[in-house]
């Protein structure tokens, strides 16, 4: 049988069982020994007592006549039968009067007079060296005297100790035998358990669930251990089955994932192509727009020249009015073309922002110069708010001006009462720029669309004075170029604010 790998982490049940057997046997044998020793002692004591009493009685009978007739010599002779009992050291006969009639053996220690002595049987402990007996001599139902005897217990004690030693020896032998048998039979029980533990260790270490525990041939029949082995094997089989299921499911999932990924890739590619196509289309559109508006300038110039020429020919009142309208129409056309050109320029990426340090003070004074008259014309307040001291932004100044122009122009256009406020606030290392107005406001459902081209939320009569609806579309593109985003908050009837953030110039600039 190959040696199973040992394991230092777990104790051995073999030694535990062995110790248990040993302990239990030792306890049992000790109890039996002690009990046996006590019983033996009792028995021996009783035996000694009986023997002495019987001997005394015999001596008494033999000496009865001597006692009755107070015959000293005959009494002495009668006591000689005590020789048969070797443990008796000394004895004496006492008639009823109480004096000592005759002695036997070593008379030292024998009482002279027993009138005050009480009858007693031998009573001794394991440590006594000698014991005494004092009993009446009875003849025909009545006492005719007393017999006193003293017996040595040394021999008897020696015998008892010898017996005790033999008993202890026998018990120790029994213990050894029990230990030996225990070892043999413990192995038969422990071996299958160890084999099972070994197999489980192997399974744990290798992760190989196809191993099985082999029912040990040492196993004593169908018991809990064989049940354990069967259960163990069943569990391993179950684990193996589940592993297999798991693996196959895993494979299935993988193939599905691959499928989906492939289809996603395809979709992605299609989208990519579509996007590129769309972008190309937009680019094409913008280029076309740029080219078209550029080309359209010339005819507009021409029309302008012709109009001026017409003016110079001397017009009447009606003709002058028509010419005025003509001018307005040409102007609008020009504005539209400018706006379209701006958009297309921005869309085609022809404009690259060139950031630099820009002083806020200067920026705002330029804007003020540009729009204050326009605001005054509509009786609107036009105010600025910025923190004290020098503040500088780090951004493209031209584009920012364009953006502000757009927002402020819009604000003034859509405000009839109140005013417009341009505010700059520090927010950490950024500046928050806001354009407040007290205009007509924008309804929530329109707020997303106001940045779309041609959308005018507050111009249902399409009043050309309110522009073409391209201003915010341009502003959005400018904001994107400046790497910022315009946020709009508004309440219909109360006003609006358009705000965006820009980086502040680092300190010292």
């Amino acid at each position: 049988m190959p040696q199973l790998p040992g394991n230092s982490r777990y104790g051995s049940i073999r030694s535990k069982l062995f110790l248990l057997v040993l302990l239990v046997s030792a306890i049992a044998l000790t109890i039996s020994m002690v009990g046996g020793a006590l019983l033996e002692w009792n028995k021996q004591q009783e035996q000694v007592r009986q023997s002495l009493v019987t001997t005394a009685r015999a001596a008494g009978i033999a000496a009865s006549a001597a006692l009755a007739f107070h015959d000293r010599k005959a009494a002495g002779d009668a006591l000689r039968i005590l020789q048969a009992q070797t443990m008796i050291e000394a004895a004496a006969l006492y008639p009823l009067e109480g004096y000592r009639l005759a002695t036997y053996g070593d008379s030292g220690g024998l009482p002279d007079n027993v009138s005050k002595l009480s009858e007693h049987l031998p009573d001794f402990t394991p440590w006594s060296a000698a014991t005494t007996l004092f009993q009446p001599v009875v003849l025909d139902g009545s006492a005719i005297g007393h017999l006193y005897l003293r017996a040595s217990l040394l021999d008897y004690r020696r015998t008892y100790l010898l017996h005790a030693a033999l008993m202890i020896g026998a018990n120790l032998l029994g213990l050894l035998l029990a230990a030996g048998l225990a070892m043999r039979f413990i192995d038969r029980i422990v071996k299958p358990v160890r084999e099972l533990a070994g197999t489980s260790r192997q399974v744990r270490a290798s992760g190989n669930f196809s191993l099985r525990a082999v029912p040990s041939e040492a196993n004593l029949g169908r018991d809990e251990i064989s049940e354990l082995v069967d259960s163990f094997n069943a569990m391993l089989a179950e684990i193996e089955r589940r592993e297999r299921d798991l693996t196959s499911y895993h494979k299935l999932l993988e193939s599905r994932v691959l499928e989906r990924t492939a289809s996603l890739h395809t979709a992605n590619r299609e989208l990519q192509l579509a996007k590129e196509a769309a972008e190309a289309a937009t680019l094409a559109k913008s280029r076309f727009l740029a080219a078209a508006s550029h080309d359209l300038r010339q005819p507009i110039q021409a029309i302008n020249l012709f109009k001026e020429a017409l003016d110079k020919t001397g017009l009447n009142g009606e003709q002058t009015r028509i010419s005025h309208f003509l001018s307005r129409a040409i102007l609008n056309l020009g504005e539209l073309l400018d706006a379209l050109l701006d958009i297309s320029k921005l869309d085609t990426g022809a404009v690259a922002p060139q950031p630099g340090v820009l002083g806020v003070h200067k920026l705002f004074s330029d804007i003020d110069a540009e729009f204050s008259l326009l605001a005054a014309a509509k009786s609107l307040r036009f105010k600025f708010s910025f923190p004290p001291g020098a503040t500088a932004l780090f951004t493209d100044g031209a584009l920012l001006q364009g953006l502000l122009r757009n927002l402020i122009g819009n604000a003034i256009k859509y405000t009839e009462r109140g005013g417009v406020l341009v505010a700059l606030r520090r927010r950490g290392d950024q500046a928050l720029i806001q354009v407040w107005d007290t205009g007509i406001g924008i309804a929530p459902e329109h707020r997303a669309m106001i940045f779309d081209e041609y959308f005018q939320a507050g111009n249902p009569e399409r009043d050309k004075a309110k522009g073409l609806g391209l201003g915010l579309a341009i502003a959005r593109r400018l904001a994107t170029l400046l790497n910022t985003e315009i946020v709009c908050h508004s309440r219909p009837g109360k006003g609006s604010v358009f705000e965006f953030r820009l980086p502040l110039a680092p300190n010292g600039q």
Partner: protein, 185 residues
Amino acid sequence: MRPVKLNLRKRWRNWLQAMLAGFLLGYAVVVAAELAPVTAPEPAVRAALLFNFLKFTEWPAEATDATHLHVCIASSDPELIVAMETINARQVQGKAVLTTVFRQQADCDVIYVDSRQRWNSIRDKPGQAHALTIGGYTGFATDGGMIEIVLQQGGSRFDINLGEAKRAGLRFYPQLLKLARRIVE
């Protein structure tokens, strides 16, 4: 004054000596009296001995009365008779002792005889077939008596005529035989 003192001393000495002698004698008597064994009166001794003999004797089963052991005293000594009566009603082998004065034709288990004449007058009479005969005179055993009491200075002894006892169907315990001074077959 020397002759006068001498005379006086001599007389003193004589008187002292006499006194001393007297004291010594008296003392000796007292000591002798103390050392002498206290002896019971003879009749009482005989009665005690007889009673003891009964304890060591075995009668044939059919011979005796079931309840009483008849002890007949063949003596005219009133002291003896009185002494023997002390053992009356005492138990021996489950039977009560009954002491009476010996009469002819009486059924006796034990007969005590105090003299030869008395013995000769009563011996071999009917009704005595199994009686234990105890005698107090010298020669009783040879005369055919079973136990002869011998009172001596050092104590009492007895002789046993075993043959007579066997003929009467009586049996003595061995302890008793051991104590006998003399056993006659």
